[in-house]
Symmetry: C2
Subunit: 202 residues, 2 copies
Amino acid sequence: MSELPEPVERVVALLSRLPGIGRRSAQRIAFHLVRQAPQDTRLLAEAIARLPDVLGPCLICGNLAPIGKPCSICEDPRRDRGLICVVEQADNLAAIERTGVYRGLYHVLGGAISPLKAIGPDQLRIEPLISRAKNGETRELILATNPTVEGEATALYLARLLAGSGIAISRPATGLPVGGELDYVDGLTLSRALEGRRSLSD
Amino acid sequence: MSELPEPVERVVALLSRLPGIGRRSAQRIAFHLVRQAPQDTRLLAEAIARLPDVLGPCLICGNLAPIGKPCSICEDPRRDRGLICVVEQADNLAAIERTGVYRGLYHVLGGAISPLKAIGPDQLRIEPLISRAKNGETRELILATNPTVEGEATALYLARLLAGSGIAISRPATGLPVGGELDYVDGLTLSRALEGRRSLSD
């Protein structure tokens, strides 16, 4: 049984480390990269190589931004500056932006508190969040960390930290996904949805 | 609703063209590439950029090989030179190699005959296959093109082209996947498996 040529094996190994890519799909991609026109493969390599040179965390909120500058959301004068939505990662921010309904600002923590992964509050962008929250402009913090154990713990931690500050603290509802079928919803989500039921009779 | 920063959008667009990667996963990967240590992102970019510089089709069989050279399989003296397994792409070859049971040579066609995609026999490496097959050493051709309409048509075309050449022509069996459950097998595969049933009473 012969091995893959070293340059291909190397690309496969590096691609396998990316989120959502297993060895099998990494291999499929690597073969595609060898097979397609060389200029297309080079275009991809250049676009990837450019990323760390041009993008860094926004100086204000931690979102992706041109290096050393605030992001387009922080600079947008039409955004409601009284509202800050706190998320774990810039991807989460992008997901909320795609909905098109949120018009406030964001704050990217860079993760969630996780004793298992040895991530404490100090490893997250919590200090800058507190100073932003207390700048006098902020009316409400929406703690949109993930609905996981770590995300919940982080939200709870932040809520305690800001208790008594006069800033409203909220968290997005957990419940049934729209368009989903009850049979396919996991038990925890279902029980949360039932606990959080809303009256239709008012 | 704000857009992704241009350098990220560009990587997302290029990644989405790869096999098995949709826009959602391309975005997840792009964010990961921005977030991880810059040297890791550069390593990936360099490994990808290197591919077209160092690899090309094997001069003999069309498998991946160092540019301008035969591949490691064609050069391996322990391989049975009387047997050529014909596949559509180098990935298919790699899949067969992973099984570790095949000890012959290969021939990579570079695709399958497909009137819909305007791929005729002339676009494939069929000429070199015929000369190889007729070199006096070849006893058998295994036509391992994919079990799809195009793959079947290509196998049939090759079988006709080589009829009367004295070379044995075969095709891997189609049938039930090992370990699969009958309920989950598609109807065509199931009917093929029934047609191709083997007697256990001999």
